[in-house]
């Protein structure tokens, strides 16, 4: 029973880490390898806010906002000129972003580990089903659910999501309808960057805040995105929970096979449903 709660929290955490990537990947068709770096930046920014203001919540709010501004700049300056080219050039760019962001973090905060703690409100552990579950984990479940609901409404239901999806296929045609595609794209990238940082801020109290922290999560995030189906927020939530549960069970019974299981799940999905568990395919003729 407690495994389920923990699995749920692991899944939601994964979702929060991957949400920004899903968004940018699904909407702009950009594989944002710098997602991990933005996530790391979010953690450092949150740490900084916490050490200045003493409030976890200040960090949780400020880090995404600052990262979103940085994301907007990245999009305006670098990404915008290459949309018309083959998608792979965006890869090169985002690789460049990784190096630049990492360097910036190194210059600003140095190499030492930084730390953050859960807010007062969620500091202790709660007895549940005979286990003590850290209440911060419960916070993550709730927070993840809220973020996913918000994203779901933004993307699948609203006209905003419609524009983004249309523009990912044929931006020119969207322009003829009088819609400012560039602005929308900047918005999406910036929002995705903010989400990445949000993930970092939420993860801060759980993981060491260090330079390499972004490098590791990117693969996890990819797995969520793939299993969920491109840019499909509902799919991403489902996938994250599925992985969270799988991992929780894995840790209970065979910890050394956990990574393995995750990949088997991924490869299995891709073989059975190459487009991901939650997407549909079009026709070609």
């Amino acid at each position: 029973m407690s495994t389920i709660v923990i699995g749920l929290s692991m899944g939601m955490l994964l979702f929060l880490l991957a949400a920004g990537l899903t968004l940018i990947f699904g909407m702009l068709r950009v594989i944002n390898f710098a997602h991990g770096s933005l996530y790391m930046l979010g953690a450092y920014l949150a740490f900084q806010m916490v050490s200045v203001t003493g409030s976890f919540w200040a960090g949780l709010v400020a880090a995404p906002i600052i990262a979103a501004i940085i994301g907007a700049l990245m999009e305006r300056i670098a990404l915008r000129p290459v949309y018309d080219r083959d998608h792979v050039y965006q890869l090169l760019l985002t690789f460049g972003f990784i190096l630049v962001l990492d360097e910036a973090v190194r210059i600003i905060w140095g190499l030492e580990y930084k730390q953050m703690y859960p807010p007062e409100l969620f500091a202790g552990a709660i007895e549940m089903f005979g286990s003590s579950v850290p209440s911060y984990r419960l916070f993550i479940i709730g927070f993840g659910a809220a973020v996913s609901a918000a994203l779901f409404f933004m993307l699948d239901r609203s006209r905003y999501g419609m524009i983004i999806r249309a523009a990912s296929g044929d931006p020119e045609m969207v322009r003829t309808l009088g819609i400012n595609v560039s602005l929308v794209r900047t918005g999406v990238f910036s929002f995705g960057a903010g989400l990445a940082a949000l993930g970092g801020a939420v993860a801060g109290p759980l993981f060491p805040i260090e330079l390499g922290m972004g490098f590791n999560i990117i693969i996890d995030s990819f797995i969520v995105v793939i299993i969920g189906g491109l840019g499909n927020i509902r799919g991403a939530v489902m996938a994250a929970l599925l992985i969270g549960m799988t991992r929780a069970l894995g840790y209970s019974y065979a910890p050394s096979w956990v990574d393995f299981l995750t990949f088997i799940l991924l490869i299995g999905t891709l073989i059975l449903r190459p487009e991901g568990l939650f997407s549909r395919k079009g026709r070609t003729a």
Partner: protein, 233 residues
């Protein structure tokens, strides 16, 4: 005053010139058609009007103002709608969304979702299908419907009847007449000459990137022999 005026426009693809010193005008509320053989430059001109092809030299006047420098989205917002020859349906959006996206900018006018569905009942049946699963003709209907839903002052139609069944073509001709009667100007490109001859009061003949002839439809029919020699219609 003309609604749209293109003055002495040159358009290039790379180094190749596709339009030479082209001037055309569309008056408010009229139907004008542009005819010419394959590769004459018709689509190129429509795209240039819509800001999708840069105008190397020349001027675009819209609503009495110089619109040469306006971007595609500004032109769209000021009331020009474009129905491209290759339809360009949004593949990942369903039929309903493909239509609704055209209403995002919220221009007031006579067209709304219901009217489009009345015009093309087939679209209503396929409302929840993704754009890229539609048949060719369904996509064509959708492209026209999407153009209408922006409630334009000027509608650029590039071969709108291509791939449509005869019955639907009839409906579309009626609809165009109706749209026009409601005050929308139309610039029509067609291969199927029946349609422009029936609808348009004025014609432009384009060949090899040059406007070779322009005038009333009656004159076109009367001077047919001469013009045929000119551009081998």
């Amino acid at each position: 005053m003309s609604l749209l005026e293109m003055q002495n426009c040159d358009v290039f693809y790379g180094k190749a010139q596709a339009l030479h010193d082209v001037s055309i005008s569309v008056e408010e509320g009229e139907i004008v058609s542009l005819i010419g053989r394959n590769g004459a430059g018709k689509s190129t001109l429509l795209k240039a009007i819509m800001g999708l092809n840069p105008i190397a030299s020349g001027k675009r006047m819209y609503d009495g103002r110089d619109a040469t420098r306006l971007s595609t989205e500004m032109l769209g917002r000021s009331g020009i709608a474009y129905v491209p020859e290759d339809r360009r349906i949004f593949a990942t959006l369903n039929v309903d969304e493909n239509l609704r996206i055209a209403t995002v900018m919220g221009r007031e006018g006579a067209w709304n979702l219901e009217r489009v569905y009345d015009l093309f009942p087939r679209l209503k049946e396929r409302m929840t299908s993704r754009g890229d699963t539609l048949s060719g003709g369904e996509q064509q209907m959708l492209a026209v419907g999407r153009g209408l839903l922006t409630n334009p002052e000027l509608l650029l139609l590039d071969e709108p009847t291509e791939g449509l069944a005869p019955l639907v073509v009839e409906d579309l001709i009626k609809a165009m007449a109706l749209i026009n009667a409601e005050g929308v100007a139309i610039l029509l490109v067609e291969q199927n000459l029946k349609v422009p001859l029936k609808l348009a009061k004025r014609q432009y003949l384009i060949d090899n990137g040059h406007i070779r002839w322009s005038g009333k439809t009656e004159d076109l029919l009367a001077e047919r022999e001469k013009i045929e020699g000119l551009i081998s219609l």
